[in-house]
Amino acid sequence: MTDAALLTLTQWLSPAFPLGAFAYSHGLEQAVAAGQVTCAGDLARWLDRILTCGGGLADATLLCATLRGEDTADTARALATSRERRDETEAQGTAFARTVTALGTPVPEGLALPVAVGIAARGLPLRPERIAALYLHAMMANLVSAAVRFVPLGQTEGQRVLADLHAAIRDTAARAATLELDDITACVPGADLAAMLHETLPVRIFRT
């Protein structure tokens, strides 16, 4: 039963699931263009911040609260820090909802991604911190993949950064499972600013 649920969740959160995630860099493209992220070390520090006290922790907390049955849609929308961030999470949430609905798990469109995933995953017999860890892993893997292409970094270097984030992914997921929506906090002013600056970046390959 748990193995079946794990396979379902792995499919939903795999890069092959059609969310269009590859089009979003969560502000990383701006940071690369500005020379703030130029090597694997910069990338690791950038991702660790986002994961542990930025969009990662916020999304994981929203996801866990949604799994508990809470109505998190408005809070998720209100936490968006810029127009592109709103687009990033809602476009992926809608793409996710369409596909899982077609596969037999109905989820409404127009929700932020962690809310849509949380609604879909309510029926899975998995612990919330496990679901959140896989979600965060997918989020970080997508950003590593973006960085490998555009910093650029070697594939192995990128995978090493991701592997080194595993402990922080587990910690953040475990923490998120204990938090209420009101406990969500953030301290990523650099990443928030980058996400806004991306809107006026002259040459853009990513949508965020």
């Binding site: 910069d42 809070t75 209100a78 301290c187 002013p189 806004m196």
Partner: protein
């Protein structure tokens, strides 16, 4: 016994204060103040009322509790600000708590423009700002946090600061900015975090058509470093971060003046 005496002492010194002001379209309706919180309404000679809040204790320390509230009736317009920068001093165990409640009736407009909050080494402050907007109400708000006495070159290493800013429209959250800065955040390296910034500012305009101001605001921002804007769904957000708190305050001042179509409150020290 001696231990008890020393631990009891700070409790006596804790500051309590509450100031509540209610305005309607015709002007002041109600003003309550207690403890070390005060609210003043300087003569405005025809301009919309300005409410100036003040903590007469001169700053915040562990265990202090301050409450400011500003209530605008339907169609009322006002500016809310603070007499001086708010200083949060070192605290040993207890956190200082500040609550700000802003209530805007239908079609009301509030410019909530407190002066900056200066956090001293080892400060512990939890602030919660909640704005409740009725239909067609407009809120402009600006919050600046300064990390340490920058003129003295103070570098913070220990801090416990939480600043929850929430705007609700008809009871539903439309904007949540839950900033939290601890010693770990101050120490963290990398450009996604504080990255050495000593001043953080967020300006938010929440109103129908707030997006229309994005072009003019971006014109003011130009190529200035550490400053950016975005607008969507009836909100416009400007963020700034940098090491020069005064230069940042001046840039933000120009943006605020553009967004409110009026000069800054006179108490602002720019």
């Amino acid at each position: 016994m001696l231990d008890n005496a020393t631990t009891d002492l700070p409790k006596l010194q804790r500051t309590r204060g509450a100031a509540r002001v209610r305005l309607d379209a015709a002007g002041l309706r109600d003003l309550h103040q207690s403890g070390s919180a005060k609210a003043m309404l300087p003569k405005m000679h025809g301009a919309p009322p300005e409410v100036v809040f003040l903590n007469t204790a001169g700053g915040l320390t562990g265990g202090d509790r301050m409450h400011f509230a500003l209530n605008l009736g339907p169609g009322a317009r006002a500016t809310g600000t603070t007499q001086t920068a708010e200083r949060a001093y070192a605290a040993r165990d207890e956190v200082a708590e500040v609550t700000v409640d802003l209530d805007l009736g239908r079609g009301a407009r509030l410019d909530w423009l407190p002066q900056e909050t200066i956090l001293f080494q080892s400060a512990r402050l939890s602030r919660r700002t909640t704005a409740q907007l009725a239909a067609e109400a407009t809120l402009l708000m600006a919050e600046t946090v300064v990390l340490g006495r920058t003129a003295m070159g103070e570098t913070l290493t220990t801090l416990d600061f939480t600043d929850r800013r929430r705007v609700l429209r008809l009871g539903r959250p439309v904007l949540i900015e839950p900033l939290r800065i601890t010693g770990a955040d101050l120490a963290a390296r990398g450009a996604a975090g504080l990255d050495g910034a000593l001043a953080l500012t967020t300006v938010a305009l929440v109103s129908e058509g707030a997006e229309d101001a994005l072009g003019p605001v971006r014109d003011i921002i130009g190529e200035a470093p550490g400053l950016a804007a975005s607008a969507w769904d009836g909100r416009l957000i400007v963020r700034a971060m940098g090491r020069d708190a005064l230069a940042q305050k001046r840039r933000i001042a120009a943006i605020i003046e553009r967004l409110r179509g009026a000069a800054l409150p006179r108490v602002w020290q720019v």
